[in-house]
């Protein structure tokens, strides 16, 4: 599973994408992905908030994740 990273998320992880294999963790939902990220990179727990996008749409915590989904971490936006 590939996760796209932007803004401060990219800085925290140190790269613009992270690959999570099923050996690392079995992530079945947005909530599980968020928990995993905070566990693996505690800096995520210090953000104001962060969202997850599945197939380039904001996804609620209960949205399931599938292998072919395009998944992205969306830290607090600050456009404009």
């Amino acid at each position: 599973m590939e996760i796209l990273l932007f803004g401060i998320a990219k800085d925290i992880v140190g790269q613009s994408e992270i690959r999570i294999s099923s050996d690392d963790a079995a992530l079945h939902s947005v909530q599980e992905l968020k928990d995993f990220m905070v566990r693996k990179f505690p800096e995520f727990g210090k953000l104001s908030s962060f969202a997850v996008a599945v197939n380039s749409e904001y996804a609620q915590d209960d949205v399931p994740l599938n292998r072919n989904d395009e998944i992205a971490i969306i830290p607090p936006v600050s456009g404009g």
Binding site: I8, K46, L47, S48, E57, P75, V77, S78, G79, G80
Partner: protein, 139 residues
């Protein structure tokens, strides 16, 4: 003819926006331009850097424009955001709407910029002399 202009660009040309929004059925055009301000809480900004998740940002911008076209009687709507490095006084975002009467374009223009700042996946890093900060990232 499409009533929405949704763009992510490297450089914004503000001289173009009224032509983009002009329409024979419109009596009013309201436009907001966001620019790089020299000082943030008393500290001198050297530059801003904008990054985006472009595919998703364009989708979210399109939703905002469509919502505005539904909420108000508008003829045209524009949302154009720049990415990359921006210096002081440079424009970073242009939003606007044209309508028969001015109430609609004023309200829509405000809605466009307010909603863009809430939902569109664009991130701004403020670069100061001695540090760089992702805006809004931390409480």
């Amino acid at each position: 003819m499409d009533r929405k202009i949704i763009e992510i660009v490297q450089t914004i040309d503000t001289s173009q926006v009224f032509t983009d929004l002009s329409d024979a059925q419109s009596g009013g055009i309201c436009v907001f331009v966001g620019t790089v301000r020299e000082f943030t809480q008393g500290e001198a900004v050297v530059s801003l850097e904008f990054e985006t998740y472009e595919k998703m940002a364009l989708k979210e911008m399109d939703k905002i424009a469509s919502d505005a076209l539904e909420k108000w009687k508008l003829n045209k709507v524009i949302i154009r955001h720049a990415v990359g490095l921006k210096k002081v006084e440079e424009p970073v975002v242009v939003v606007g709407a044209s309508s028969a009467h001015r109430d609609a374009c004023f309200e829509a223009c405000r809605y466009l910029i307010d909603t863009l700042k809430e939902t569109v996946p664009i991130w701004k890093k403020e670069v100061f002399e001695n540090k760089a900060v992702w805006v809004s990232a931390h409480p």
